[in-house]
Amino acid sequence: MATNNLEHSEITEVTTEANESVSHEATLYAEPIAHIGSFEVTNSLFTTWLVVLVVLLISLAIRLKIKQIPRGFQNFFEFVIEGAMNLADSVTGNKKITAKVFPLAFTIFLFVLINNWFGILPLGGFGIIEMTEHGKAFIPFIRSGTADINTTLALGLVAVIGSNIFGIMSIGVWKMFNKYVNLKAFGEMIKKVRKEPAVLISAPIMFFVGILELVGEFAKIASLSFRLFGNVFAGEVLLMAMGAILAYILPLPFIGLEIFVGLIQAFIFSLLTLVYFTIAATDHEAHDDKHTEHEHSKEVVHAT
């Protein structure tokens, strides 16, 4: 808290004394804190490494002392994983899919959650002061990895590309291909045109629906990555703005809000990953057939 507010007071100083004091602004991009050769180590990257280390240490600490009868730490995590497994089961509706996708989804959850919470740790005062064209600027060491668009974009790509690979693994390349470029619809057009001429209209529509799905995959990447980035980054800006208005007291409830938002966003990200994997693993065709059968039976009932 105290260190956070150090930054906030610096913002207010900037507005009064122009470029004389050390400024710190919330920038859209992560700022470099060190260089390894020509490689820039940004503060987000540094925090991400810390988070990876934390996750690694926790998992090793549990793995090395794993017991048949859980106690303490292991007990807590078994409880968490069991609850998460049950929730994942209710989303996928299939134990087999859950068993395959859950490790990835839960890893994403832990990674994003710890990243989000690292950003609001009261360590914001540690950093370096650098000369820029606008005078001295303060660059903190800690900035949530998820407050950098590159991290969230990478996570979004992993989720969407992973879901497509999972789809290929579970329903096959040809069916997956037909979800996006629906050649099967044209095949059916030739086959069924004698029986039902309406297929001449419906098949091209099906084809364009497939193209829409293809565009939808890119929209998924964009919405996944920008949702997480937007929420975490906006949280940082919000905390800074509140600290600038009234230090110490006003940011307190908002820090509570940010803890909650961090949890919810991590939850939503992993939940949507699960949903995308489940959608990719289900066969559209089989579903449609069932649907039409259902409708047929309905018609029969109506007729009678």
């Binding site: 209710s90 989303v91 919405s223 949702r227 939850f267 939940l271 949507l272």
Partner: protein, 73 residues
């Protein structure tokens, strides 16, 4: 007269107007979910996850506005 920089105004309008729709949408999702839980408290576990997913989709629209707001120079 000096030309005024209206880019901040454009940013504010983009996110401000873009947040109205999703705000209403998320409010409606939440109220309907509460209603559903009120009618059938045992279903709260089943309502919760679809509610979150639906509000995530509604929220995505606000994020498009946020992206536009960020990209206005």
């Amino acid at each position: 007269m000096e030309p005024m920089n209206i880019a901040p105004l454009a940013k504010a309008l983009a996110i401000g107007l873009g947040a109205i729709g999703p705000g209403i949408g998320i409010g409606m999702i939440g109220s309907k979910a509460m209603e559903a839980i009120g009618r059938n408290p045992e279903a709260s576990g089943k309502v919760f996850v679809p509610m979150l997913i639906a509000s995530a989709f509604a929220e995505a629209i606000a994020i498009y506005a946020l992206v536009i707001a960020f990209s206005i120079k």
